[in-house]
């Protein structure tokens, strides 16, 4: 069953080829077997999953339910889930049972999906390798010595190893697309404001966006359709109707204008990785799309810009973890200052602390203009670069990452090289644009990703562009050895 896509599983459920309980049991068994090797989960919610599956089966038996009823799914542990541990992979929230559901969780629950568990991740979504988790690193199903990417490493690894047909994820600087690329799966980050952030634990509020990791673009279209939409509880969510993303998946790409970002094909790009991307572009040319080089002159500034804006916001967003109302609290604090210092000193990991300190610095009196304000201006310039490019082309296509997956520990001692792993993904976050990563082949036996960036709210277009490629190729259907 697990070799099928989510769309095929949903069809199977409706045709009663198998029940949701059977499907759920199957995935729970795979998760329990896979967890020791991959560490993709923080929490496995067996009991709740089986209860939800039974309820879904009753719906299906009564001829009710929607396209996702009975489909198992995993939530990144950044989404609040009522009555279930929600840790953000941090010691700080290692005892936090959320009293409420995130909007995304509530919507997918209402759509009839069955939650299997909570996916491991980088602590507070800060990381590109899933090595900053308090619960230990997640391993790449293609090679357990390698990282799965981050921060949604658990979500990507779970889908890649077919421990779940889909997993929610979040993307602040590439946290959906980069692990999707490194694990050989499909991951979409929608337009900023398309998916509610309510109940999605904040890292950098102006950049964070929820999305989903799946096997195929068609699966992503199904799940995203159920996740997206205006939420009165999120002032930054946008009140525009959600189209049926599956309706336009097969639209022709003939005459589609594809922009190749000059800045993406730079010297940091692994030549073999570039080769796979060029091969994918050839597929589009064969389908009648036109390629055109475009330049975003300010894009090379995206990493430094991001590493001012994101830490600034995180330094403020994470101030609420003070040991007073919930979460971790140090033992026997002497006084208030001791409570703050030790709770935060013990509760946060090194990378989180590094970013809080960076963010505090760039917002400080005397440095604000030079860092935060300047970064905001550069962010505007980058957004304008994208706008100009989209006057010429319909989508931008390039690599998702410079290289395939790297070894555990390879970059942990040097944050800068780690940060540079997100060089191709950060631009879309700074500009709030939708982007998807899809598998486009292998380099030295490891999957690499093709990134498609669209105009604001052009999720349907990038899903369509991704889908027509997946009709022509089967990279997305390859399963890591040992997980078939």
């Amino acid at each position: 069953m697990h070799r099928r896509t989510l769309a095929e599983l949903a069809a199977g459920l409706r045709k009663k080829e198998f029940s949701s309980v059977e499907l759920t049991r199957h995935y729970l068994e795979r998760i329990e077997r896979g967890q020791p090797a991959l560490n993709a989960f923080v929490t496995i919610t067996r009991e709740q999953a089986l209860a939800a599956a039974e309820a879904a089966d009753r719906e299906l038996a009564a001829g009710r339910g929607g396209p996702l009823t009975g489909v198992p799914i995993v939530h990144k542990d950044i989404f609040c889930t009522q009555g279930v541990l929600t840790t953000c992979a941090s010691r700080m929230l290692s005892n936090f049972v959320s009293p409420y559901d995130a909007t995304v969780v509530a919507k997918l629950k209402a759509a009839g999906t069955v939650m299997l568990g909570k996916a491991n991740m980088d602590e507070f979504a800060m990381g590109s390798s899933n090595e900053t988790s308090w619960y230990g690193p997640v391993r790449n199903p293609w090679n357990p010595e390698l990282v799965p990417g981050g921060s949604s490493g658990g979500s990507a690894a779970a889908v890649a190893a077919r421990l779940a047909p889909a997993a929610t994820a979040t993307d602040t600087g590439g946290s959906i697309r980069q692990p999707a690329a490194l694990c050989g799966v499909t991951g979409i980050k929608p337009t900023y404001g398309r998916v509610s952030r309510y109940g999605m634990i904040a890292f950098a509020s102006s950049l964070d966006q929820g999305g989903v990791i799946t096997v195929s673009a068609e699966d992503a279209a199904l799940v995203l359709g159920a996740m997206a939409g205006f939420d009165p509880q999120d002032s930054t969510s946008v009140d525009t109707p959600v189209p049926d993303y599956t309706a336009t998946l097969n639209d022709s790409v003939e005459g589609l204008k594809i922009g190749l970002l000059k800045e993406f094909f730079d010297k940091g790009l692994d030549p073999e990785n570039e080769q796979r991307v060029r091969e994918a572009l050839a597929v589009y040319e064969r389908l009648g799309a036109r390629l055109q080089e475009v330049s975003l002159p300010n894009l090379p500034l995206s990493v430094p810009t991001y590493y001012v804006v994101a830490p600034a916001e995180c330094s403020s967003n994470l101030a609420r973890y003070d040991g007073v109302r919930f979460g971790y609290r140090c033992e026997n604090p002497r006084d208030l200052m001791d409570l703050y210092k030790r709770t935060r000193g013990e509760g946060f990991g090194a990378e989180v602390k590094r970013r809080i300190m960076t963010g505090t610095y760039v917002l400080s009196a005397g440095y604000y203009d030079a860092y935060y304000l300047k970064a905001q201006k550069v962010r505007q310039l980058i957004a304008r670069d994208f706008e100009r490019a989209f006057q010429e082309v319909d989508v931008l296509i390039g690599p998702t990452t410079p290289t395939p997956a790297f070894a555990l520990g390879a970059k942990t001692s040097d944050p800068i090289t780690m940060y540079l792993n997100d060089i191709y993904t950060i631009g879309a976050n700074l500009a709030g644009l939708p982007a998807i990563s899809i598998p486009c082949g292998f380099v030295r036996g490891l999957p690499v990703g093709l990134q498609i960036v669209g105009r604001h709210f052009a999720e349907a277009k990038i899903l369509n562009v991704a889908h027509v490629y997946q009709r022509e190729t089967d990279w997305h259907l390859r399963v890591p050895p040992g997980w078939a």
Partner: protein, 478 residues
């Protein structure tokens, strides 16, 4: 040396919205600790703020009432600092782009002249919770019911030159926010409080001296006392050759002095930046016009109308419009006692004010309603009782809670207007006092008062004074 005092006030007024500024929790005062704090107020992981439209409307109302600029585009910013009663570790406020800027109010000084006080800005922000120490030995309790209550912070220019001016300005703002029905003005509950920035400089200097900020003053009396203490303290320092330290100070009402809280060097770096969870607040003309149309008659407008329409002095009009409730009470009395606005003004400002003051009750809780007071005044106007008797009736109304007519009837206070009855009383008095009558007729005019008094005594004060005078004159002439 002669010194000049320079004062600016930052007034915090709690907006009387039903729910909090960024969440749906109730803002009602006095509930058990933490029952009015939901997940948003508690700063739980993942929650987000949603701006209360009513709070925006109230801030715009205030801005229009002080003739300020209403920002078409304003921005919420985070003020970052750690404190146990600040759940998120930041307060959502407005910093660089406030919703209201550049307004003013007029105050009336003791000599009757008017003075314009500039209002630099007024911005929306959320209140913090409260730390509780009393009754909790060894620990600090946190009550987050107040966390997220909408506030408008009203920042004046340093335009005031004495504690009295500062109090006059604060009272003016207090009156205004209550007229606008955007704040209940309850200072005991902390709904209306202020910080005072105080400095002194040699008279004639155009540079400001070093200022101190006195935090959290929650009564007009404390504002006056704290400023006067602080001015004297600063002058003392300067005259003995010292320097005033820029710092935040607290007023201790028990000891009547201000104390240092923290110096500038110890001040927090609040690291303000635009709140990414809230989009810039954009207001269009239609919204602002709609709020403008909802503005009530403002205190100054009402006072001018009272002078014009009721022929009151500027002072009386000012007193009667000091609160909307008092003005409404007065107008209700006027409406029910046609043609007697001055009589009504005197009674409201003297007898009623004295009774309210004596029992410490607000006009809204007056034991004599406007309708009842009008009933009393109408008995004066129609000569049923005299003004003097009316005071007695008013006291009885105040204590018994009954209406004027009942009391007049019960106590038999109705004025005697029957000519025959008054004549009979006069005849009896004249017959009983032949000696005085003879003296009067011999030219001792002063004795007229004696006869009035005797007749009044005989009639228990109920004889109509005008009739009595007329009839007595006739009789005395023989």
């Amino acid at each position: 040396m002669e010194w000049e005092t320079v004062i600016g006030l930052e007034i915090h007024a709690q907006l009387s919205t039903k729910s909090k500024i960024f969440s749906g929790s109730s803002t009602a005062y006095g509930a058990a600790p933490n029952v009015q704090a939901n997940l948003v107020d508690l700063g739980y992981p993942g929650v987000l703020p949603v701006l209360n439209r009513e709070a925006v409307r109230m801030a715009v109302k205030f801005g229009l009432a002080i003739d300020a600029k209403i920002a078409r585009h304003s921005v919420f910013a985070r003020k970052n600092y750690f404190y146990p009663d600040l759940p998120k570790g930041y307060q959502i406020s407005q910093y660089e782009l406030p919703i209201v800027a550049d307004g003013s109010l007029e105050i009336v000084l003791d000599d009757g002249t008017r003075k314009r006080i500039g209002i630099t800005r007024a911005h929306l922000e959320e209140d913090a919770g409260k730390s509780i120490h009393e009754g909790l030995p060894g620990v600090t309790g946190i009550d987050l019911n107040r966390a997220g209550t909408p506030l408008i912070e009203i920042v004046s220019e340093p335009d005031m030159r004495s504690a009295k001016e500062a109090v006059a300005y604060m009272k003016k703002v207090h009156t205004l926010v209550r007229y606008l029905e955007i704040c209940d003005g309850n200072m005991q509950e902390g709904s209306f409080r202020c910080d005072a920035n105080v400095s002194v400089r040699p008279k004639g200097s155009d540079r400001f001296g070093t200022r101190t900020e006195i935090k959290n003053l929650n009564s007009f009396r404390f504002v006056e006392k704290a400023i006067n203490y602080e001015v004297a303290r600063q002058i003392d320092i300067l005259e003995s050759g010292g320097k005033v330290v820029q710092e935040t100070r607290l007023y201790d009402p028990d000891r009547g002095e201000t104390r240092s809280m923290r110096t500038k060097e110890e001040a927090n770096d609040y690291r303000y930046f635009p709140d990414p969870d809230l989009l810039p607040l954009v207001l269009d003309d239609a919204f602002i016009d709609e709020v403008r149309a909802s503005l009530p008659e403002l205190p100054d407008q009402k006072a001018a109308r009272f002078s014009e329409q009721y022929g009151l002095s500027a002072y009386d009009a000012g007193v009667l419009t000091a609160s909307r409730e008092l003005a409404d009470y007065y107008e209700e009395v006027v409406r029910r006692v046609p043609g007697e606005p001055k009589l009504a003004a005197n009674w409201v400002m003297v007898e009623l004010a004295a009774a309210l003051n004596r029992d410490g009750v607000e006009i809204t809780e007056s034991r004599v309603s406007a309708g009842r007071l009008a009933g009393l005044l109408n008995r004066i106007v129609d000569n049923t009782i005299s003004g003097k008797i009316a005071k007695e009736v008013f006291e009885a109304m105040w204590t018994s809670g009954r209406d004027a007519d009942t009391i007049i009837e019960e106590k038999g206070l109705r004025q005697i207007t029957d000519t025959a009855a008054i004549e009979k009383a006069i005849d009896e008095v004249l017959a009983a006092n032949p000696k005085q009558l003879a003296e009067y007729r011999a030219g001792k005019d002063k004795l007229f008062g004696f006869f009035v008094g005797q007749v009044m005594k005989a009639t228990k004060g109920k004889a109509n004074p005008a009739q009595l005078n007329e009839l007595l004159k006739k009789k005395l002439q023989g």
